[in-house]
Symmetry: C2
């Protein structure tokens, strides 16, 4: 299978079109049936595969960074009579279990980024459903802030996965209809068992959509809603966007080299080392000088995001990610100070929100994460979040003989205490210290200091500390041992231990809903030879083992 590439740009889109009109943008879904990511299926009726979603994700990012003037985004279909038919079923029927799971994870992250734009970025998404919005199509709509449904006696919304496909509305559908749309649970049960879905007044009464609009008023009402949302936006209409220029990447057999990020694969050991480099110098002198894709926090985030997505999709057998950093912690902290000083600026806000989403993506990555804190590393401020996201962090106590760099140290910045909440709403430090909340304050009191191993251990900021004598053996044994375990058990263990305490709609989607969907994605009733996903479209009825478990 060829490498799945998560980089694209509007000029290369096959499935989407962007239109701009002042403070309102339109994103039109117009899926090219012939442009599926793999062979063997046609993307009819605006159904989608991972390739369609990669473009959607790119469009969301560009709207945020390149279009400060846009305060509202109207999501709609360019096709007649269909909004979106959801994930392509033949694609799902043919895909491996791993691809299905990764596809769903990425689409879920994309839906969450739509909500993040609406909630935090002053860019409100409005969905205009003209035609059928079925399954993943309706789930896409539900990730928008409001849903308008045309009242033409044909257009409807539906989640027909259970009756039709023997799987769940797993891209957040089940969770969002109860938690976000607040559909009554028994009505949700009826809705999710009704292939043909719901339309008209009942769709509003059940809170499935916000408004039904007669065809005569359709365009005007969409524009009215969008204008209202844009008028509420705090984005600067006169500002100039920051172009997300193509990343520089070099793929080799053993890894990928970006500007600040490198991936080094050790396939025999089942692991990849991901190294993030500090900026070479201080932050720009002015905010204006920062507005470019080369601004370190933005470039490093884009590179690391691409690296994580690449590893997820293209390197499934590398179950262990070793997280490293290198360079001057002082420069990382100086950039953090810049991000903190200018947090009111639209662009800096976007950069911070991007890091928030990127770190969540790392939390959700089903690979074991081990951070190695060594001399020469710069787990400082924003980059220290990598150590806190890791399942374990291991720190070398002191300097190495013959190495004239200072001893390994961690450093904290104000950004560790609120800028990057996890999906459960907690900072990584609050999650870490769930059982000892006072420890958060103890760490906070040391903002800016170089925290060497002894103190880091005492503050509870690292898992284990070894001196030079033990380091090589201890780390080697730990990594070998981890790589020897069942990847499935590790996935389940990590998915539980990483998210302590409170749950949010988002964690419920990635935890409860996704875990059940993954289970179903292995059941013969869905994926067996006579299962619903396999037989869909053949005219043959699936036959089910009727035993409940």
């Amino acid at each position: 299978m060829s490498r799945i590439d998560f980089q694209t740009e509007p000029g290369r889109y096959r499935h989407w079109r962007l239109r701009f009109d002042g403070a309102v943008a339109e994103l039109l879904m117009d899926v090219d049936p012939a442009a599926g990511l793999f062979e063997g299926y046609e993307l009819k009726l605006n159904s989608y595969d991972l390739g369609v979603d990669i473009e959607l994700s790119d469009a969301i990012q560009r709207l945020r960074f390149e279009h400060p003037e846009v305060g509202a985004v109207v999501l709609r279909s360019a096709k007649e009579n269909v909004f979106c038919a959801g994930a392509n079923i033949r694609m799902l029927g043919k895909a491996t279990h791993g691809h299905k799971v990764n596809f769903c994870k990425f689409t879920n992250e994309t839906r969450c980024s739509i909500e993040d734009a609406t909630e935090h970025s002053g860019q409100t998404w409005i969905c205009a459903v003209n035609g059928t919005a079925a399954g993943g199509g309706y789930e896409l709509a539900v990730s928008c802030d409001s849903i308008l449904l045309i009242d033409d006696r044909r257009s409807s919304v539906s989640l027909p996965e259970t009756p039709l496909l023997a799987v769940l509305p797993g891209t957040g559908g089940l969770t969002r209809i109860t938690d976000k749309r607040r559909v009554r649970r028994d009505r949700a049960d009826v809705f999710c068992s009704t292939e043909e879905g719901v339309r008209g007044k009942r769709a509003v009464e059940w809170r499935l959509v916000d408004e039904v609009v007669p065809p005569s008023a359709w365009e005007a009402r969409i524009r009215e809603r969008a204008d209202e949302a844009a008028a509420r936006s705090d984005r600067p209409r006169a500002a100039t966007g920051v172009a997300l220029t193509p990343l520089t990447r070099r793929f080799t057999d053993d890894g990928v080299a970006y500007g600040f990020v490198t991936i080094a694969c050790d396939r025999a050991a089942g692991r990849a080392t991901v190294t993030v480099a500090a900026p070479a110098g201080p932050p720009p002198a002015t905010l204006e000088a920062a507005r470019s894709a080369g601004f370190w926090p933005l470039q490093a985030a884009r590179e690391l995001d691409d690296a994580i997505l690449h590893l997820r999709a293209n390197e499934p057998a590398l179950g262990l990610l070793v997280l490293r950093t290198e360079g001057a912690a002082a420069q990382v902290l100086a950039h953090d100070a810049f991000l903190e000083a200018h947090q009111g600026d639209w662009f800096i806000r976007e950069v911070r929100l991007y890091w928030k989403r990127l770190l969540k993506r790392i939390d959700m990555t089903s690979r074991s994460l081990v951070a190695l804190v060594e001399p020469g590393s710069c787990f400082a401020g924003t980059l220290a979040e990598l150590a806190f996201a890791a399942d374990r962090s291991v720190m070398l106590d002191g300097a190495r003989a013959g190495d004239n760099r200072p001893p390994a140290a961690l450093a904290l910045s104000p950004l560790n205490f609120g800028a990057y909440p996890m999906a459960n709403g907690l900072t990584r430090l609050r999650a870490r210290f769930w059982g000892e909340p006072d420890s958060v304050g103890a760490a906070q009191a040391r903002i800016g200091a170089a925290i060497e191993a002894g103190e880091a251990d005492a503050l509870g900021l690292v898992t284990m500390v070894f001196d030079e004598t033990d380091w090589d053996d201890e780390v080697r044994i730990m990594l070998e041992e981890r790589a020897s375990f069942s990847p499935d058990a590790l996935t389940g263990m990590e998915a539980n231990l990483r998210f302590v305490g409170p749950e949010t709609m988002e964690t419920r989607i990635f935890g409860r809903l996704t875990a059940w969907q993954n289970w179903i994605f292995q059941r013969a009733n869905a994926v067996g030879e006579t299962g619903a996903l396999k037989l869909y479209g053949t005219g043959v009825q699936p036959s089910y083992d009727k035993a409940r478990v």
Copy 2:
């Protein structure tokens, strides 16, 4: 396979012994290796199967109802050098997927009932770990309020499932160590990857146990802890317990008949109808007269509990439970008034807590639940919770021709508004009206009234209303349609829709943790021919597919 029976009594226990000494009881685990529920495995080292847990569950119930004088329960092992080795691995290796899932669900419910006794019943559970507490053995300990570990250089606690068995500590272990014991997440990661576990001071420092005790002080310290807990209990030491006399049950090919509960199986249609009858007369005149296993709320709860467990374990192909009630709603409401008037009494408190747990068990039952509200039914107060627990409730509008009973009606009592919280902490009505909280108050204003179909519909208390003309066809079609869907998709859908909004440790165990475990229980790395569960104990190392999904 012979029928799994959930009824037992101390005289028939094979695996546990109860000892009483004033306000302190001891429950000793002493599993008979030869008394497994099925052939093919030996229950060595206090490992357990479902049969062991059925006895444990019975012991918990009897401690609550039969021993008002007991304020503290010490859970310990009667064997040398081992507390409990957890679920029996050979049993798990041989069990069907469905049995594994059901076994885990029941053991999880049993662990939760230990916590319920501690929190709500004035019966504090203390675990005295003398020897190895591994896997499910440690999970059992963690369900107790506190854990004492003997400091003998041998005794340890561990969750070795991931490294050893390629599955999760799925009986709440992963969730409880972070959410209840508040073990730091990276330490939890280390702990759950360390086969040999943790002992001594580190076990306390990591919050895995509450106290390590030298052997010389062991017995005295256990007793001291127990006496302290018992002294805090509000249970009446001088009261007489209520004997849980054997249930009267008659099994036939087509169902089960209890005193107030009947199960009627329709195997061709894939469903069972569960009918609960109202009490025949008013509640007893005095509290003293109520203290018997024949007190309707207690007897009905015990019967319905047994019925649900029987259907889960022995009738997996009946995927749809039709919930019915019959009799005089007034008598149900009169009993509710009795339960409300005497809620301060220890026995009445136990009855109410039992209904709370029973209704949670129904919520957690992976069968479609449909309540039929017809003339002659008594979905009133406590029994109305069955309709609110159902995925759907359907109500007949008016009376039937030729039927001189009054029209179908629902009725509410104060107990619908707080006595029976779901696992997520919400009443079923609050969960139902998650999107319209005012509707809870509107329902509350109608406590005691006979709410006929039109009003029930307007208040949002039922899903659908049909008149006599449509009833038979509509209900038949609905039940047939439901039975035609994939049971797996329904399980996943219901597990999501039934639990809106907030999550608690309990819902996280049944949702996130259990769903991941169920997924892993289907993975070849665990259950395949070269998987860890299959090869455990053979000396052959499992071989894993190393791809992450």
